[in-house]
Symmetry: none
Subunit: 314 residues, 2 copies
């Protein structure tokens, strides 16, 4: 048992791809066992495995399969190309199989989609973490995560499938944001409260905002999904935040009364944000700010922090 020669099935399971795909990779790209007699079963040595592992990692990062294969064949262990000048050319025509449509959202999005389809949480984490480290939370959210999540959402609305994929990716994103928050030491007491609207289940965008805030050194408090108005008011009452961000993803959860209640409470926050696509601008009570995207929400929140600092210093 000293010689570890894995069968095709074992390797496929390990990589999270179909056995057929493994054969296809061998035929199309020459990426197969180093020694193989036609007609006989393939036996993958550890060295072959490393090559395949590289292939997987590259495709998970958005490299076109053909190119990734070429790469894996001649440089078994290869680091990823820098984020720099890699935007332009490309004659590759991506596509293929049961995937998630991400349109022209860049290679990282494609890689993320691929990893997601394989339910490969490790690869998913890897891609997300790298993106956040490289481009920051805001950019990652806008150009990577949101497109991919939207793609998955579209799909599973249409076909009622991929729900498990969406869950997994959501979890990974959530965890990545949490890691960002944990990594950046929270400076001072949190004066910004983030909360979902009543009945609202989607909190990912809020978590993105939270991570972005943490990244900018701004402490916050995040309540999470499905916060009843009463609980929200109680939380505001107990913690006395300077600003409250209320997220509503869909119209059905965007009851303006929640905002009004916030403004009418005993500990009225300085600023109330109505964030998310659910809110209708013309139905918002006076005194409520409605940021259009993550970046704007971030800068507004930062402004709150600054004004607080000044008033405290003066």
């Amino acid at each position: 048992m000293a010689d570890e020669a894995l069968s095709a099935g074992a390797v496929a399971r390990r990589l999270g791809i179909a056995v057929t795909t493994l054969r296809t990779w061998h035929q199309r790209y020459g990426l197969g066992p180093s020694e193989h007699v036609p007609g006989r079963h393939r036996r993958y040595t550890p060295a072959d495995l490393i090559r395949l592992e590289t292939m997987r990692r590259l495709t998970a990062n958005g490299v076109a399969p053909a190119e990734a294969a070429r790469w894996a064949v001649q440089a078994p262990d290869a680091a990823l190309p820098g984020p720099g000048p890699r935007t332009g050319k490309r004659g590759a025509r991506g596509g293929g199989g049961a995937t998630i449509p991400v349109g022209r959202s860049g290679p990282a999005a494609r890689g993320l989609a691929r990893a997601a389809m394989r339910l490969d949480s490790n690869a998913i984490n890897e891609v997300i973490d790298r993106a956040i480290r490289t481009d920051g939370v805001v950019t990652t959210w806008d150009t990577l995560l949101r497109p991919v999540l939207a793609g998955i959402g579209e799909r599973h609305v249409a076909t009622a499938a991929l729900i498990e994929v969406e869950h997994l990716v959501s979890r990974c994103v959530s965890e990545a944001f949490a890691a960002v928050v944990r990594a950046h030491a929270p400076g001072g007491p949190p004066r910004i409260l983030l909360s979902c609207a009543d009945e609202e289940q989607h909190s990912l965008a809020l978590e993105a905002l939270g991570a972005a805030l943490a990244e900018a050194g701004i402490a916050h408090r995040l309540l999470g999904a499905r916060v009843p108005v009463r609980a929200l008011l109680e939380a505001v009452d107990r913690t006395g935040p300077a600003a409250v961000v209320l997220w509503s993803q869909t119209r059905s959860t965007a009851d303006p009364a929640q905002l009004t209640a916030l403004l009418a409470g005993p500990h009225r926050p300085l600023l109330v944000f109505a964030a998310g696509p659910g809110w209708r601008a013309d139905r918002l009570p006076a005194g409520v700010v409605r940021p259009v995207d993550l970046a704007e929400a971030l800068s507004l929140a930062a402004a709150v922090r600054d004004s607080l600092d000044q008033s405290a210093a003066g």
Copy 2:
């Protein structure tokens, strides 16, 4: 040495296999008596018997014989790293005020409850992280997190308040588990799939199991809450896990048909666990294992550990 040194025939009869097979197992897989001189008769010690018993049990469950043998040779019975020594003495006297009932769950629980009431996520994180680092995931879950969560739950069922507290704590717990998973490099391909039952919303216990698995060095895949049967089957089909853990918190989500569907699928898992208080033991289809608590689930899952992954990866 009046010890039971069983002869080949006796062992074969006991295991219900042919004597020849016993010899074959020895030759092909090295699974034989620990001491044996070529040409002489084989004498099986009780230890050898255990190994063979494992082999038989695994193969009876559908594990490939070669794999089962490797398994049996290196891990006769799945023993697990026990948790550290119990913590507490300490007689801190808990105070009054609006708090959460945690019973006699120790000072950490009380501290956690207090931090939760303040919506102080930093403090919450701190307590949880420390507990996990000190006592491990299993103990922390059983003696700290579950009591506190249960306490909060009780309260807000009674008073319809504290919902925001529960959300916050849940989030923090979730993140802490995620951090554990991220910290422990997952070795090899995940062969264990964790999923909530259809409609089941509570996934925290599953996340605890996931973290415990990660702590023990066992890779897994966690789908999350509210996984439709169809999505679960699709995931099983695509990833071909060796074991599937299906969590049901309440009776209403514990539809045995889900388990049956799992067992009937094309990529039938070796082992199916019905975990959580929702399941009724007398309604489970044959072939389903029902662990009673986190520790048991962990040790059972450990028994399914994939033995194929010991190659160098990145």
